[in-house]
């Protein structure tokens, strides 16, 4: 049994609100997803103008494509869909067999396979312990394992750890003993978490979203020095900001705080002038006390940060007790409709409690939040 809850921008009919099953007192609304089936997991990738849903081989895009809200685009892939990455212009579709396709966000569009450049041979050269040059099997782009995109960036990563700015190869990470854990994109930047807990970033960092001290463009992946030595377990990229949580249960945010999305104060006391809006270096947060269970001695274990998720200008933190915390822009209901009168939150506040005995996952659209519950 699964249930999808939604709050945020829905003016283009991206989500079908379940009219029968919604109490007006809840902060989130239940939605019905198209073609749901319990056979396969549902993959959802919301962008601003539409939302993409994949079940098995089938892909549905619903939103505004031409002239009316609620327009649908439906295609079928050759094999099961493994991952989606959506931006307003197109949707990237990764299949189970590692092939990458693109679907333009317009009516009657078809899946088009993406051909990636070969990675540079030089990068695949390693020395053996005896000093001989050793070629690593990396002749063709190979199977793609991770994808992400934003309005100004499209990234894919191969099983051989080649990083693509689609379709060119940007960088080759070591092929051995180096594993991609997570890849996320903002509007114009990308961040990557590897199996060691190191975070790399690249793209446009003019608003501090890369986590490097100097603002600027970073062409290739660069380790975020400020987080080096801290084992990061989960990352998120918002429009112009980023966030990470560590194995110690700490939360870090950096980038633009224009609407409080970093959980940092927006206005100076007095309310006339703003605090700085750009924080180029990761900011460590003191998390507020969570639920009653946290009063117990074993508090840390109960409410430690589990996952982090970011929209265009909002950030969500999921804690292990099932409570979801949010900060940032909420004028379109991004953080729940209970905040109707507020335009933003500039410190993390509890916005939703997941019911007990459910598995849950949180996804952010640019101006929306989706919560998937399953038993």
């Amino acid at each position: 049994m699964r249930q999808f809850l939604f709050t945020g921008f829905n003016a283009f009919g991206q989500h079908n609100i379940n009219k029968n099953n919604n109490s007006c007192r809840t902060s989130v609304l239940e939605i019905c997803t198209p073609r749901d089936s319990n056979e396969y997991p549902m993959i959802i990738a919301p962008c601003w103008r539409y939302t993409a849903y994949a079940v098995g081989q089938r892909l549905f895009l619903q939103g505004l494509f031409d002239s009316q809200p609620g327009e649908c685009l439906e295609v079928e892939a050759a094999v099961r869909i493994k991952a989606l990455a959506a931006c307003d212009n197109h949707c990237l579709v990764l299949l189970q067999n590692g092939e990458l396709f693109k679907l333009a966000a317009k009516l009657r569009a078809q899946l088009v396979q993406i051909k990636l450049e070969n990675p540079p041979i030089a990068a695949a050269t390693k020395r053996t312990i005896f000093g001989d040059a050793k070629r690593i099997a990396c002749g063709s782009p190979g199977e793609i394992t991770h994808i992400a995109c934003g309005s100004h960036i499209n990234v894919a990563i191969s099983a051989g750890n080649a990083i693509y700015s689609i379709p060119s190869c940007l960088h080759q990470f070591p092929v051995r003993q180096w594993r991609v854990q997570q890849l996320e994109c903002g509007n114009e930047h990308a961040i990557l978490l590897n199996g060691n807990g190191d975070v790399y970033s690249w793209g446009n960092g003019l608003r501090g979203q890369l986590g490097h001290e100097a603002l600027g463009v970073q062409e290739t992946p660069r380790l975020i020095d400020a987080l080096a030595g801290i084992k990061i377990t989960h990352i998120a990229a918002g429009g112009w900001h980023s966030a990470a949580i560590s194995a110690f249960g700490d939360l870090y945010t950096w980038g633009s705080n224009c609407n409080g999305q970093l959980g940092m104060r927006v206005l100076k006391p007095g309310g006339l002038l703003k605090e700085p809006t750009v924080y180029p270096l990761p900011q460590l947060h003191d998390l507020p006390e969570c639920c009653e269970a946290a009063q117990d001695a074993d508090a840390d274990a109960v409410c430690s940060p589990l996952r982090i998720c970011a929209g265009s200008r909002h950030t969500l933190l999921v804690r292990s007790c099932g409570r979801v915390w949010g900060s940032g822009w909420t004028i379109h209901g991004q953080l729940g409709k209970q905040l109707e009168k507020r335009t933003y939150l500039d410190k993390f506040e509890a916005i939703y409690d997941a019911p007990a005995n459910y598995d849950y996952n949180v996804i952010c659209g640019p101006w929306a939040t989706l919560i998937m519950l399953s038993k």
């Binding site: 002239s67 100004h152 509007n187 603002l215 006339l272 703003k274």
Partner: protein
């Protein structure tokens, strides 16, 4: 028909019909959908408060928000013009829908700020036939009750007595164009030009801050906050000139009371406020290279005592003209660039890490090799700076300067 007041109906008539903007929006799917609904809605003259009015007003707000995001993604110079045009159109419609809801003083203030953003971030050029008329009509409608309300008057700054002071560069008294070309422009020689802007109406008019309040008070401008732009505390934000003037000049002791220094710096104020433009004129020296005055960037620099621009250089020829107040300026030649420790980041590599006022020779030993030139810029003075010359600028009193940049 609308139950709206007559002036508002006149404004609505100046909005585009969908046919006027259809070509512009050909590839803009959401703008086409939303602006069509809004334009048709207003054209049909549906009653205020009808059910779709609220929905369309929300959609327009979303369109403006989304295009604000688009304008802020990527480098500003590479944002497609159509996105900035849609933003401006969206702002116009948003203002009208807000005024249909209420025309209270507060609401007009909010609308005035949106109109300024339409101009600052959006592109209002050639949107449709009547767009300039709408812009002007909105401005006068929104400004109506803002000016002349009886708030406390601002000070009239006393004219400064000219003092003789150190000047490490040549001075010329109202040189001819030819003389300027030979001795300054071609020789790449920073020079203090005396008695060249005394005829500007600005010299006598702007010291009266109530005049600035009257002609510019309601406009929104970018302000730098914090003593200088490389410090961590520094930020930049949009504020109304009126609020800025009251905060920085309104009190008896406008400094020393823990107040943060705000600086209206490097802003193209004169394109935004034509009345102020008529108080100055582009010096003939700027056309020495055969350029027309229209290719000259004119920027305003208005702030209290102790605004600081750290040691930096600019790529263009610069004529810095002092309207009121005085500024200490420290210069260094482009030849000394390796001795000035420029910042490494892409944004700040035209800026030195040093504090030119108190050079730290321990931390920056190469500074000993640098030759600094110091001078005091007084009302009516102009400083000519060739491209790439390093300069540090600190205001000694409340100050208003106008800079002219040309290639």
């Amino acid at each position: 028909m609308f139950a709206a007041a007559a002036p508002l109906l006149e404004l609505i008539k100046l909005l585009p019909r969908f046919a006027d903007i259809e070509a512009l929006l050909e590839h803009e799917i959401e703008a086409r959908y939303i602006l069509k609904r809004a334009a048709d809605h207003l054209e049909l003259g549906k009653l205020e408060g009808s059910s779709s009015s609220e929905e369309i007003s929300y959609l327009i707000g979303a369109l403006v928000d989304k295009h604000w995001e688009r304008i802020h993604s990527g480098h500003f110079s590479s944002v497609p013009l159509v996105i900035r045009k849609v933003y401006a159109l969206g702002c116009y419609f948003k203002i009208i829908f807000m005024l249909l809801e209420s025309t209270s003083h507060e609401q007009r203030e909010k609308c005035g700020a949106i109109l300024d953003e339409a101009q600052l971030l959006g592109c209002t050029d050639k949107l449709y036939a009547k767009s300039k008329d709408l812009q002007a009509a909105l401005m006068s409608y929104l400004d109506e009750d803002v000016i002349g309300n009886n708030s406390k008057p601002l000070p009239i700054l006393a004219p400064l007595e000219r003092i003789s002071s150190r000047c490490d560069i040549p001075q010329l008294n109202a040189p001819s164009i030819l003389e300027f070309r030979n001795s300054c422009y071609q020789a790449e020689q920073p020079t203090l030009l005396l008695n060249t802007i005394n005829h500007w109406p600005a010299i006598s008019k702007w010291r009266d801050l109530n005049y600035l309040l009257k002609v510019a008070g309601n406009r929104t401008v970018p302000i730098e906050i914090g003593s200088n732009y490389v410090s961590d505390e520094w930020s930049q934000q949009l504020v109304k000139i009126r609020d800025f003037l009251y905060r920085q000049f309104g009190r008896e002791t406008s400094s020393d009371d823990n107040q943060e220094v705000e600086y209206l710096a490097q802003h193209e104020l004169f394109a935004q406020i034509p009345t102020l433009k008529s108080d100055i004129c582009v010096p003939d020296y700027c056309t020495v290279s055969g350029d027309t005055p229209s290719n000259v960037d004119i920027k305003a620099w208005l702030g209290p005592r102790h605004t600081i621009s750290p040691m930096h250089n600019d790529p263009k020829h610069n004529l810095l003209c002092q309207v009121f107040g005085s500024k200490i300026i420290i210069l260094a030649s482009p030849a000394d660039t390796p001795n000035l420790y420029p910042h490494e980041s892409e944004f700040l590599n035209n800026t030195s890490q040093i504090d030119a006022a108190i050079p730290d020779f321990e931390r920056f030993p190469l500074l000993r090799r640098t030759r600094f030139y110091e001078l005091l810029l007084q009302p009516g003075d102009c400083l000519y700076l060739p491209p790439k010359w390093w300069h540090y600028v600190r205001s000694e009193t409340p100050s208003f300067s106008v800079s002219f940049w040309w290639e």
